[in-house]
Structure formats: structure tokens, C-alpha cells
């Protein structure tokens, strides 16, 4: 706690000194934005992001949705800016029961006019003049150095970054949960979950960068308290987690490879320890007019025993693996409101762990761009009679850049379900396969994307 207090105090003093040390200049307004329209013909999705539909005789239908993002940056000078970022999500036709952060309908109903503005980020970004370090304080995005398999989320916190020649160091603290009731007489910060980040990157030369990280999660949200209501299930489902890892970014000839590996240890609870690991790589090789993409990961799973050997995350909704370039097996990086996968974005498959391998080819011809990909996923460990194979996906996309920042595209994706998801009895994982003998899921996606 003392470290956190010091960090905050330092950040506050630094913010004040940065604000007063620079000469008065006119405020500059910077806008960024994005609009995406997505239309789906599919038997796997229904406009929501809990999980894919996996059942026998699954109905196919069409739905459409849109997302807009608006980013406004109030820039006092090159060393001080306030970043604000908002989002507006709507499914065509509307959903009135709360959707993507809204509490009422999502304005897609007849005559629109609903309140749908969501706040994504509000943070101060400044360079402290004395040390030259960069600070970001507030509600901000953060991503791990492991392909976002562990955590990618918008969180409230503070992070400091300092570059010294080829070394870049980062220290951060995020409070991603605080269940302490307002005005609780037990005092502040009793039921909290914090993430501490220490990250170092060193550029050995222009072609090789190596990095090492330490992440620490202290989860006290499940503690009992006389005057506050603690959640019955704390998120994440462990009390203490340490995660140490190494990563690299290497250029070799026509190839770029980013390998990574991490080990997790800590306490799930007073009786059970965590001992888990992960590894993976993302690569790209120039070939012909385009490039071959490949990627893969291994997340350890739990067979049961004294230790919990399953790779731990924070929540399934805050994990990604965008380099896979999948549409159904893993949530697509292009997804907007409907952003889910066969396992409901849970790449740990409920603690079973998983193995995924993916490859594809992408290229462009003038204003036309294209990609085609294939991927396979299975669980690392099987429970009971369950099978391991989750499925194999093939997909392809073709798009056209109407303007520099406006593109239209069409994609198709099809999954040959593995035994673990289309089994007839206890061999299937019932958390995801809602009926026996589930149909192979597919989708056709039409997209219009504008970003500036």
C-alpha cells in the first residue's frame, strides 16, 4: 500500500509541476474516430458476446450492428495532454435490455434517441520535466506483452515509462476492482483487486528487442467485511498471482518472430497454490506479393491435485489473441459489439488449458486487400470422458479501400468442430456445446470500416 501511495503522490506532484513548468500555450484539439458497420449471416452468433451458438440444427439468420468511437485529446503542449475516448454501440433494430455497457435500449430501436455513450478512457498523459519520464494517470488501456492472452483491458491506474538509450522501463499500478461501498466506515481500499506491472525492454540492435516482465495481482475483493457486501465469487478466482515472463521481437532475414513464455505462481486460496505456465510465438514471413502469418500458443491446464496448474487470467472478456486471425475459434480482431468465440473467449477452456496453431496469408493488390487463414485448437488437458479437439477453422476475406481510411470487405469463416464440441454424449464439453451433435458453425461477414 505504501508503494501505491508513494506512486500516486509522485504522479500528482509531477502532474502539477508539469502543468506549471511549461509556458502557457493555446490548447490544441485533436480528434480521432472510428465507425464500423458489420452485417452477419450466421448460425453461430445472435448479436451478443457471451459465446457462440453450438447446437444441433442451429438456425441461420442475419443481424447487423455498428460501433462508433470518438477520441478527443486536449493537448496543452508536447508534454501534456488529456485523452478522452468514448464508444457508442448499437445492434440494428435495437436491444432494450441493456447492451454493451448501456442500461436501457441501445438506440437501434424505432426513432432511436437513447442514451448510449460509453466512457472507455479518460487519462492524463504527461512527460515529467525533471526525469523525462512519461506518466499516464487515469482510466487507460493496457495490454500485456504476451499477445493479450493474459490481459488487455481499459483500467484505472497509473503507469510510468522511462527510456534510457536502448532500454525502456515501465512501472505501473492498476486498481481494476474496488468493492468497498461508498462511505464505508471500515475505511477505504478493503475489498480491492490491484495489478502491479514492471516491464523492461532492451533493444540489442535494430533487429532484436528482448523484454522481461513481472505482473502481480493482489485480489482482496472476496474478503469478508462486517459492513460491506463482498461478492460471493471474487473475480479473478484467486487471491495472489505472480507472473514472470520473457519475450522477444526478432527480425531474421525476411521473417519477424515474436516468441514469449511466462510462469505463474501464487495462491488460489489458503489451501491451494497456483503453478502454471504459457508459451507462444507470433511470426510473419514475406512471401510472394504478401506475407505468411503464423502464430501459436500453449496454455497449461489443470488435471486436479494439490496445485492448480491452469493458466490464470483475470476475466475471459479481457483476453485476446489477435494474431490468430480467426473468426470463430478465437474472437476476431476486427470484431465490434459481437466479440466472442466457440469457448466464450475463454482460451483456458475452463481451466483445461489449450493449444492453438494458426497460419495464413495476406496481401494487397492496389486498393484490394485479401487474407486467408486456417487454425486448429484443442484443450491441453481432458476431464473425464471429454475429448480434446475443439475444432479447425478456415476463413478468407477480401476488401477494397474506397478511400484511404474507408474500406469495405467481405469475409467467410467455417469451423469443422472437433469431438470436444460436437460429441454425442459425455465426450463433449457441455459448457460450450449446448446440445449433442452440434452443427458446424459458420458466418459470412460484411463490413464497412472508417477510421481517422
Amino acid at each position: 500500500m505504501s508503494f501505491q501511495k508513494k506512486l500516486l503522490a509522485f504522479a500528482a506532484v509531477s502532474a502539477l509541476s508539469a502543468a506549471t513548468a511549461v509556458p502557457a500555450m493555446a490548447l490544441e484539439n485533436e480528434f480521432h474516430g472510428m465507425f464500423k458497420f458489420m452485417g452477419y449471416q450466421t448460425n453461430a452468433l445472435a448479436g451478443g458476446d457471451t459465446k457462440d451458438i453450438l447446437r444441433k440444427d442451429a438456425h441461420s439468420g442475419f443481424f447487423a450492428e455498428q460501433r462508433a468511437r470518438i477520441m478527443y485529446i486536449a493537448k496543452a503542449n508536447d508534454n501534456l495532454k488529456l485523452v478522452t475516448h468514448f464508444e457508442l454501440d448499437t445492434r440494428f433494430g435495437g436491444i432494450s435490455t441493456g447492451y454493451k455497457g448501456t442500461t436501457g435500449n441501445d438506440s437501434g430501436n424505432l426513432d432511436a434517441d437513447a442514451l448510449t455513450l460509453e466512457t472507455k478512457n479518460i487519462y492524463l498523459d504527461f512527460n515529467e520535466p525533471a526525469t523525462g519520464a512519461n506518466f499516464k494517470v487515469g482510466m487507460q488501456p493496457w495490454a500485456d506483452a504476451y499477445g493479450s492472452l493474459f490481459l488487455l483491458a481499459d483500467m484505472t491506474g497509473a503507469i510510468a515509462t522511462k527510456k534510457v538509450d536502448a532500454f525502456t522501463g515501465q512501472l505501473g499500478w492498476f486498481r481494476f476492482d474496488d468493492n468497498t461501498a461508498a462511505n464505508a466506515i471500515t475505511g477505504p481500499g478493503q475489498l480491492t483487486a490491484d495489478l502491479i506491472v514492471a516491464d523492461g525492454k532492451f533493444a540489442i540492435n535494430k533487429d532484436i528487442t528482448v523484454g522481461a516482465t513481472y505482473y502481480n495481482i493482489q485480489n482482496d475483493t472476496g474478503l469478508s467485511s462486517a459492513s460491506t457486501t463482498a461478492p460471493t465469487v471474487s473475480i479473478p478466482n484467486y487471491e495472489l498471482l505472480h507472473m514472470i515472463g520473457v519475450n522477444a521481437d526478432i527480425n531474421v532475414g525476411p521473417a519477424n518472430i515474436k516468441p514469449f513464455a511466462a510462469y505463474q505462481f501464487g495462491d488460489q486460496n489458503s489451501a491451494k497454490d497456483i503453478s502454471a505456465y504459457m508459451m507462444g510465438a507470433v511470426g510473419k514471413v514475406k512471401a510472394g506479393p504478401g506475407a505468411v502469418n503464423f502464430s501459436g500458443f500453449y496454455l497449461s491446464g489443470d488435471k486436479g491435485g494439490t496445485n492448480n496448474n491452469a493458466f490464470q487470467i483475470v476475466t475471459t472478456g479481457t483476453t485476446y489473441f489477435n494474431p490468430a486471425n480467426m473468426w470463430l475459434l478465437i474472437r476476431p480482431n476486427q470484431a465490434i459489439n459481437t466479440s466472442t468465440s466457440l469457448t466464450g473467449n475463454d482460451m483456458t477452456v475452463g481451466g483445461r488449458g489449450s493449444i492453438g496453431v494458426f497460419a495464413g496469408y495476406e496481401g494487397a493488390m492496389g486498393k484490394t486487400f485479401y487474407n486467408a487463414n486456417a487454425g486448429y485448437m484443442r484443450t491441453a488437458e481432458a476431464r473425464g470422458n471429454e475429448k480434446k479437439s475443439l475444432g479447425t477453422e478456415v476463413n478468407a476475406q477480401v476488401g477494397y479501400k474506397i478511400f484511404d481510411n474507408l474500406s469495405a470487405s467481405a469475409a467467410v469463416a467455417y469451423v469443422f468442430l472437433g469431438d470436444a464440441l460436437n460429441g454425442k454424449g459425455t465426450d463433449r464439453i457441455t459448457t460450450y456445446a449446448q446440445t449433442a451433435d452440434a452443427d458446424n458453425p459458420y458466418l459470412v461477414n460484411l463490413q464497412l470500416s472508417y477510421a481517422f
Binding site: 484539439n29 488501456p141 510473419k284 477510421a451
Partner: protein
């Protein structure tokens, strides 16, 4: 009835009196002073105001615009060594010189008395020599009194504004090519009339004559994007080396072409360096190179580069201060020989750093530079922040240092939105001189209603080769570009 008659007579009398008064008043306009070599302490307007207050009186009134003036007074303040000279000329609206006066002195203490002396002499001459009849109204006013009708004197319709009021158009002295189909992004020269240009298809050698003739061209694969174009030479055998900085699938994969006998021949390809030719300190043109890193878009120092056996040899590294990279920096010296580095900030301000310490010394109030040329790199980690899987990095304009040690920078403006969608619609080229503490604007070219994609300065002919985009890419259209050649001396 009688009251009305009295009132009419009274009004007529008043108006006639006013007309008579105006007939005997000389309206003088004092133009802003020209000050050289530098306007310290806003002397231009101070001198203008001092002269205006001293000239007024004895039948002379001062007015705010040259259009309503009978007499136009223009003046200059010049310092040479320790001496100053204050000069003023009064001309009638028709251009006839009525009076000229000057005063000189050694210190600012005698400047105000000098203004008083000059104003006395000017006033005397103006009152004596001004042709009263030119604006005098006819004494008989059988119809409406003239004072009711604002009618400029015949001579006033031909008012010639003082030279300081006119922004001279250099366009008349320049040469403009025919419209070239497509959007060009880069241009490079090497001291002769020919130049190479780049667009999204490849590079093209042009020769200006009565129109711009395409001599030869080289097509590049679709996947390659040209970031920069530069040229060195010609060598003794007439060979010119053309350096094409290329982004190929997120990596730098540059090419060098040899231009000889109107033919472009590939000398080397897939070179992992970004290139730029610069004439630091306004001296000889040199080739520079910088690398792209895995995490840094501009990795490490900028090096002087030379081509040996198809390889690149690096020497004399220059450490780049914040914001500076190979594409947006240049070096200049002041009179004492101290070295400075000029660059653009990410926001577009012109910055001057001390070259030895890297300390920022000055930044402009207005924005300069500005380019629509960019490259994109995959950036998974920041996808949620950037809202695309790519990080977009815009390059900036060249900064040229002339052999006088002055700085030339373009100023693209008409920016309609920030973010990763840039669109400039007009530009000027601005000349600055370092006065020891700041960059002082000396002149600028007439604003053009096009976006300046790139430019090149030819020190031998003192000519700018300006590559303008006359029409942006539109749906179904290819856009259009124009090359202007403009002498700047």
C-alpha cells in the same frame, strides 16, 4: 413654413461650411515603416504612430487607409553599424513626389527628435506643394452639397498603395508544368534541369521544356510504398544516384538506381536503410541514412552514408534530439559558428535545438511543414488505443539550409481534421534567418491553393522545384499533380 425655411438655410449653411473646411484639409496616410535589418521592439508601428501624431495639424489630418488619403507618406528605418537613418517620402495619391526627408543619428535617444524634424519638413512641403485644386470643391453648390456625396477625387481612384501593402506574387516569375495524372509524393533534383518524382506506381524522370517531358520511368511492385526520394550527383562520368526509401510489408527495403544517359538502372535493392540527402550548414549535399527498429520507427542515430561495392558505409553519427529523424532535420550555424539543429515537432511546430547539447532553444508559434506521406506498422498491443491494428506514422517536410545560412521550410495548411486522416489544401514556402535567439521570417512565397507533397532546392540556380497535388484522390479518379519551378532570388 418660416421655421422650415430657416432650418433649411441653417442646414445648407452648415453643410457648405463643412465642405469649405474639407476643401482646405489635406488627408495624409502614414504607411507602416520598413525596418532593416530586423524589427526589434515593433519599430514599424511605433514609427508609424509617432509620425502620424506629429504630422497632424496645420491643415493636415491623418487617415486610416490609403484609399481615403490625398497624400501617402512612406518611410524606412535602416541601421548600418552604429548609425541609423530615418527616411520618409510623401507622395500625392497620383504618385507625384511632394517631399522627401531624412535624419540620421547614432543612438535611439535621438530617434524621437529625428521623427519630429522629419515631420516638420514633410508637413511644410505637403502644405506648400499639395495641389489644393485637386480636391477643392466647386464653390457654387446649386444642388446637393458635395459633402453629402462621398466621391473620391479622380486621382484617388488610382491610389497606389505603398509597396509594403503589396504581397508580391512570385508566381509570375515561376514556371508551371502541365497537369500530371496521379498523386505524386516525392521529388529529387541534382543541380540540372531534370528531376525524378515518385508516386504510388514508381519513379519517373522528367525534363522541363515548353512542357514537362517524361524521359523514363521505373515501376515498383504494388506492395511497395515509396516514403522518400533523393538524388546525389552527378559523378564525373555523369552518373546520378537516385535513392528510393521504400516500405515493403512493414520493413524498410530501399533501392538505389543509377541514372545515366536517360536510363534508370537498379544498382542495389532491399537495403534496410532510410535515405535522405541534405546540405547541412548550406554546404555540399551529403547522403544520410537511418535504420528502422522493431519498436522504434527511427532507430538510433542518423549517419552520413556512402555507397561502397553496393553496400552502405556509415560514418559521423548525429544524435537526434526529441522529434527529429532523418526526414525532418537540418543543421545551420550562426555568425559566431555555433551549430544548431532545426526540426519539426510531432504537432508541426518548427524547433531549433543547440546541436551540441540538444537543448531546445526556440519553437515557432505557427505550424510549419506538414505532409500526407505516412507508413503503417502492425501494433497489436495498442490496437485498442489506435482503433486499428496499425500504428500510423506521418513523415514531415524537408528543411533546407541555403548557402546564406537561412532556412527554407514549406508551410502546408488548410488542415481540416486531425487524427490519422490528413488533408492539406494550401501552402507557402517560408524563408527564415536566425537572429541569435529566434528564427525570423524574411519572406514567403505567395500562397498556392494546392497541397505541397515535396520540394527540392537547387542552390546553383536558386530555384525551388515544387511538387504540388492539384487534385486529391477521389472515387473513381486518379487525382492530379503539378510541378512548379520558382526562382527565389
Amino acid at each position: 413654413m418660416k421655421r422650415s425655411l430657416v432650418a433649411i438655410l441653417f442646414l445648407a449653411g452648415t453643410l457648405l461650411a463643412a465642405a469649405a473646411a474639407s476643401a482646405s484639409t489635406i488627408r495624409a496616410y502614414i504607411a507602416e515603416f520598413t525596418v532593416s535589418p530586423a524589427d526589434n521592439g515593433n519599430l514599424k508601428t511605433t514609427l508609424q504612430r509617432l509620425l502620424a501624431t506629429r504630422l497632424a495639424g496645420d491643415g493636415v489630418v491623418t487617415v486610416d487607409t490609403p484609399a481615403e488619403a490625398d497624400v501617402i507618406v512612406s518611410g524606412s528605418y535602416t541601421t548600418l553599424g552604429k548609425m541609423f537613418s530615418l527616411d520618409a517620402i510623401a507622395k500625392s495619391a497620383g504618385g507625384k513626389q511632394l517631399s522627401a526627408a531624412f535624419e540620421q543619428g547614432e543612438s535611439m535617444d535621438v530617434l524621437i527628435p529625428a521623427v519630429g524634424k522629419i515631420s516638420g519638413k514633410l508637413k511644410g512641403d505637403i502644405v506648400k506643394q499639395f495641389p489644393q485644386g485637386a480636391t477643392a470643391l466647386p464653390e457654387a453648390a446649386p444642388k446637393a452639397p458635395r459633402a453629402d456625396i462621398v466621391r473620391p477625387a479622380a486621382s484617388a481612384e488610382l491610389v497606389k498603395a505603398p509597396s509594403s501593402e503589396i504581397v508580391r506574387s512570385e508566381g509570375a516569375a515561376g514556371w508551371t508544368s502541365q497537369r500530371l495524372s496521379g498523386i505524386y509524393s516525392g521529388v529529387a533534383t541534382w543541380g540540372t534541369k531534370e528531376f525524378v518524382t515518385a508516386d504510388d506506381k514508381g519513379i519517373h524522370l522528367y525534363r522541363p521544356g515548353s512542357k514537362l517531358d517524361l524521359v523514363t520511368e521505373v515501376a515498383l511492385p504494388d506492395r511497395m510504398k515509396i516514403l522518400a526520394l533523393d538524388a546525389m550527383g552527378p559523378e564525373a562520368n555523369g552518373r546520378v544516384l537516385v535513392f528510393v526509401t521504400i516500405m515493403d510489408r512493414e520493413n524498410i527495403s530501399s533501392r538505389i538506381y543509377a541514372l545515366q544517359n536517360d536510363t534508370l538502372k537498379l544498382v542495389a535493392e532491399d537495403i534496410p536503410y532510410m535515405f535522405r540527402t541534405i546540405a547541412p550548414y548550406g554546404g555540399a549535399k551529403k547522403l544520410f541514412a537511418q535504420q528502422m527498429g522493431r519498436s522504434d520507427d527511427f532507430y538510433g542515430d542518423v549517419y552520413e552514408a556512402s555507397i561502397v561495392d553496393k553496400g552502405v558505409k556509415l560514418s559521423n553519427p548525429i544524435k537526434m534530439p526529441r522529434f527529429a529523424n532523418i526526414f525532418n532535420f537540418n543543421l545551420f550555424r550562426d555568425q559566431s559558428g555555433k551549430s544548431y539543429l532545426a526540426t519539426f515537432s510531432d504537432s508541426g511546430y518548427l524547433l531549433v535545438y543547440a546541436a551540441d547539447t540538444g537543448e531546445e532553444l526556440w519553437r515557432s508559434t505557427d505550424k510549419f511543414g506538414g505532409s500526407e506521406t505516412y507508413f503503417q506498422r502492425r501494433d497489436w498491443e495498442n490496437e485498442r488505443t489506435n482503433m486499428t491494428p496499425f500504428r500510423t506514422r506521418f513523415l514531415d517536410q524537408r528543411i533546407t539550409v541555403t548557402d546564406k545560412g537561412e532556412i527554407l521550410v514549406p508551410q502546408n495548411s488548410g488542415f481540416f481534421v486531425l487524427g490519422n486522416l490528413r488533408s492539406y489544401s494550401k501552402y507557402s514556402v517560408v524563408n527564415f534567418a536566425w537572429n541569435g535567439s529566434s528564427l525570423e521570417e524574411k519572406w514567403r512565397t505567395k500562397q498556392s491553393q494546392n497541397y505541397l507533397a515535396d520540394y527540392s532546392y537547387n542552390p546553383a540556380t536558386k530555384e525551388l522545384v515544387l511538387l504540388e497535388v492539384a487534385q486529391k484522390d477521389t472515387f473513381g479518379g486518379k487525382g492530379g499533380s503539378v510541378v512548379r519551378l520558382l526562382g527565389i532570388e
